[in-house]
């Protein structure tokens, strides 16, 4: 009897507790560890956390944490590691890889693998403990068959008590931070049209901003905002104007090339709260290499785009490579920096390191060109930028089809040609970092040339979910890399750390250090001023993701995902034959003193 009574009592307590819990969930009171729009705006006040994909809305990937510094970095050691999943293939891919940036909030880390599984890891106590894994059951064949450049997912965002993530098959997913249960999901992109999602969402106010990939499959690109409260779309802005809209006259053909004109948006952008402006990079036009199919400047491909965050309305644009015949997209992140100008003024700039090999500073209040310079050692497609406009010197606004340096430019009459940078670009998606104390901007460089073979496209070749590239690249030339530092007060190169392989991972900057990795396995720390290597650890796997830093229990850590996937080992490996030995993998490394 006693036992029974006790049981009934405990049952009643349990029932009461669960009702109370349900009431709690229903009223959804803000908890201290909820990620609010205010916390995201003030991420600088939480140096131990890494709350946004690019660390902060300005996309600097700069952390003020300095327990690990140039005097002691030589003592950096592996603190813990964790084997992740998602290595399996699908579609045209034999395996997945890791390109994500971990997000850390109060000692809890959130990472993704290439197929979009989200892992929550407790990083307290000097070790990593997996708390849950949310597997979105991505449709491998549907998505993998139209993922031009790998089984990739670059990470999550946090909002309220939800983890917000994307999947390659086009979904936006909200997962309960505590339980790992999917709260809701929404189809944002359509793989039936060749659309997939690889970028991390950006949270602005109560919206998740999503970019799309698929310019190699004849999509018409867009950026979309989803209201996280109502789960409904707030706006969707196409990166290629509709008929009659401003910019539509830059598509001068009679076969509606704009409808399949590309302009994808697969790298997470930045946000300027002072003007409520999103600044987002736009990808290449399609077909990539047959620019005679799409005469005109092809706005807004290869552009940096400024949009009103509430409406998606375009405020300004800056196009880098009009009528691009090279696949030199401008999908890269724009870094927002404030630099001293004339007479004690401050210039608000947006920095972008373009696939075309040039670094650009744009006035982010109006989209006007300020300065630009090549950050790679070899550029052959143009003799340089016009110092006033920043356009390639050979650009002729009266020409329908640009030829630039015609002797090397792919065209219908120059069908096999070598270009520098190669079509992977001088810099691809791996993010730059900007040290606002030193005013130095660090670019992960792919020092490259490659060979383009042009295929003349006709409208009948345009088919859903089939490549729409107008040719393809091959790799007869060895490709190397560097981290190149640019002084943004002078617009000049301040230093270079040259590497035997291209930088496919991206950069983290701390007050006196720069961290990055090599596809041959080494994670490295470089002196932020002298660009001399101070520390190195060989992870044994190809680095294809950016490092980040956080602190927990008062101790600083460096974290990086390791597992070579992406485009390189399928499309570009012949340019780095030594990397053929790198095995697929999926591993999280965390370092500490």
């Amino acid at each position: 009897m006693k036992t029974f009574a006790r049981r009934r009592l405990s049952l009643q307590v349990a029932m009461f507790a669960s009702v109370a819990a349900a009431a709690l969930i229903a009223s959804a009171p803000a908890r201290a560890d909820d990620v609010t729009p205010e916390r995201l705006l003030n991420s600088a006040k939480e140096p131990g956390n890494w709350l946004l994909h690019h660390q902060n809305y300005s996309a600097t990937r700069f952390s003020t944490l300095s327990e690990i510094n140039k005097d002691n970095v030589k003592n950096l050691k592996v603190a813990w590691t964790m084997q992740l999943g998602g290595v399996e293939g699908g579609g045209i891919w034999t395996h997945g890889g890791l390109e994500g940036t971990p997000i850390v909030d109060n000692g809890f880390m959130y990472v993704t693998d290439g197929w979009g599984s989200v892992y929550k890891i407790d990083a307290h106590g000097g070790k990593g403990v997996l708390l849950w894994k949310m597997d979105p059951k991505t449709d491998h064949d549907w998505a993998g068959a139209v993922a031009c450049c790998g089984v990739d997912n670059r990470g999550v965002a946090l909002w309220g008590n939800l983890v917000i993530s994307h999947t390659l098959d086009g979904r936006l997913i909200a997962t309960n931070k505590d339980t790992g249960q999917v709260a809701w999901q929404r189809q944002v992109a359509d793989p039936n049209k060749g659309e997939v999602i690889t970028g991390a969402p950006l949270i602005v106010k109560n919206m998740a901003i999503t970019g799309v990939a698929g310019a190699e499959y004849g999509i018409r690109g867009w950026i979309a905002a989803t209201d996280l409260n109502t789960q409904k779309e707030v706006w969707r802005t196409y990166t290629i104007p509709g008929k009659g809209e401003p910019g539509s006259d830059t598509w001068k053909d009679s076969q509606n090339a704009a409808a399949s004109g590309g302009g994808s948006t697969w790298v997470t952008g930045s946000y300027d709260p002072a003007t409520n402006t999103l600044i987002w990079g736009v990808g290449n036009p399609g077909p990539d290499w047959d620019n005679a199919y799409r005469p005109g400047d092809n706005l807004y491909t290869d552009s940096s785009l400024a949009l009103d965050a509430d409406t998606g309305k375009i405020k300004w644009h800056y196009q880098h490579t009009p009528n691009d015949p090279y696949d030199y997209d401008s999908v890269a992140e724009n870094v927002l920096a404030d630099v001293p100008g004339a007479n004690g003024s401050t210039t608000k700039i947006a920095l972008e390191a373009d696939r075309n090999g040039f670094a650009y500073a744009i006035d982010r209040t109006n989209g006007k060109f300020l300065w630009g310079l090549p950050f790679v050692k070899k550029v052959t497609w143009t003799k340089g930028l016009d110092p006033e406009t920043g356009k390639p010197a050979e650009y002729d606004p009266n020409k329908q089809v640009q030829t630039y340096n015609a002797s090397v430019t792919p065209s219908r009459t120059n069908k096999v040609t070598d270009i520098c940078p190669g079509n992977m670009g001088g810099k691809n998606w791996p993010p730059t970092a900007y040290n606002p104390q030193l005013k130095l901007w660090y670019i992960p460089v792919i020092e490259s040339c490659n060979r383009i073979t042009v295929e003349e496209m006709t409208k009948d070749k345009l088919k859903p979910r089939e490549f729409w590239t107008g040719g393809g690249p091959s790799q007869p030339v060895k490709i190397t890399g560097s981290i190149t530092a640019i002084d943004v007060t002078t617009g000049k190169i301040a230093g270079k750390f040259e590497t035997p392989f291209p930088n496919l991972g991206g950069i983290l900057a701390t007050p006196d250090l720069v961290f990055s990795g090599q596809p041959s396995g080494e994670v490295q720390a470089v002196d932020a001023k002298t660009m001399q290597k101070l520390w190195e650890f060989n992870t044994g796997g190809g680095v294809n993701a950016p490092p980040m830093t956080f602190s927990v229990d008062g101790k600083q850590y460096i974290a990086i995902l390791v597992g070579l996937g992406g485009a390189w080992d399928k499309w570009f490996i012949d340019a780095t034959p030594e990397l053929k030995r790198m095995q697929p993998g999926s591993m999280l490394y965390v370092f500490a003193l």
Binding site: I92, T94, D141, W142, A145, D169, P191, N192, F467
Partner: protein, 181 residues
């Protein structure tokens, strides 16, 4: 005696059941597509990584994989191309010892020189290569536009990958509005 009689009867019944089962299984096996082995090789050897599931290949990021739907190669020529690769192109060789213990196109590794094709991720036995050639000849070579039935035959029904072929009518004209019928 009775026991002795019973045993053969039980054995006979058991034999009959087994025989029936074997015959049934055999009947099913005969009705299945004999090129299923080749289809499995097509997947396992990642032929569809470049040639695509439908075999049309095509230009793209990785260069040009030739169309197997438009190919004019015979079975022997397909077998040779798979085993030896195509010198100077991205088509790898799938035969262990190609250009080393077995000459290809009358060339060894030294003679083919810089045109040496790359080694595939898997090596295939000769029977596997013949099977994949039979699969290509039966299901891909000479076919027109890919169909929904061909697609689901390749992928099954657990993915959305074939959805875009659902409404494709040979006569054409109408595009689907996406509304369920």
């Amino acid at each position: 005696m009775k026991r002795d009689n019973k045993t053969p009867l039980g054995a006979t019944i058991a034999f009959a059941v087994i025989a029936f089962t074997v015959m049934t299984a055999g009947a099913f096996a005969q009705s299945a597509d004999p090129t299923d082995v080749g289809k499995a090789v097509f997947k396992r050897a990642n032929c569809f990584g470049c040639h695509k599931w439908h075999g049309n290949g095509g230009g793209g990021y990785g260069g040009d994989a030739l169309s197997l739907r438009k190919t004019e190669l015979t079975k022997d020529q397909i077998v040779e191309t798979v085993e030896c690769g195509r010198p100077g192109t991205g088509m790898p060789f799938f035969m262990r010892g190609a250009y080393d213990t077995t000459k290809c196109y009358d060339m060894d590794r030294k003679q083919v020189g810089a045109q040496m094709p790359q080694e595939a991720n898997v090596f295939l036995r000769h029977e596997d290569v013949e099977a994949v050639a039979d699969y290509v000849l039966t299901h891909i070579k000479g076919k027109g536009e890919p169909t929904h039935a061909e697609c689901t035959d390749f992928f099954g029904n657990t993915s959305h990958v074939c959805d875009i072929y659902k409404d494709a009518q040979p006569s054409g004209g109408q595009t689907s509005t996406g509304q369920p019928k």
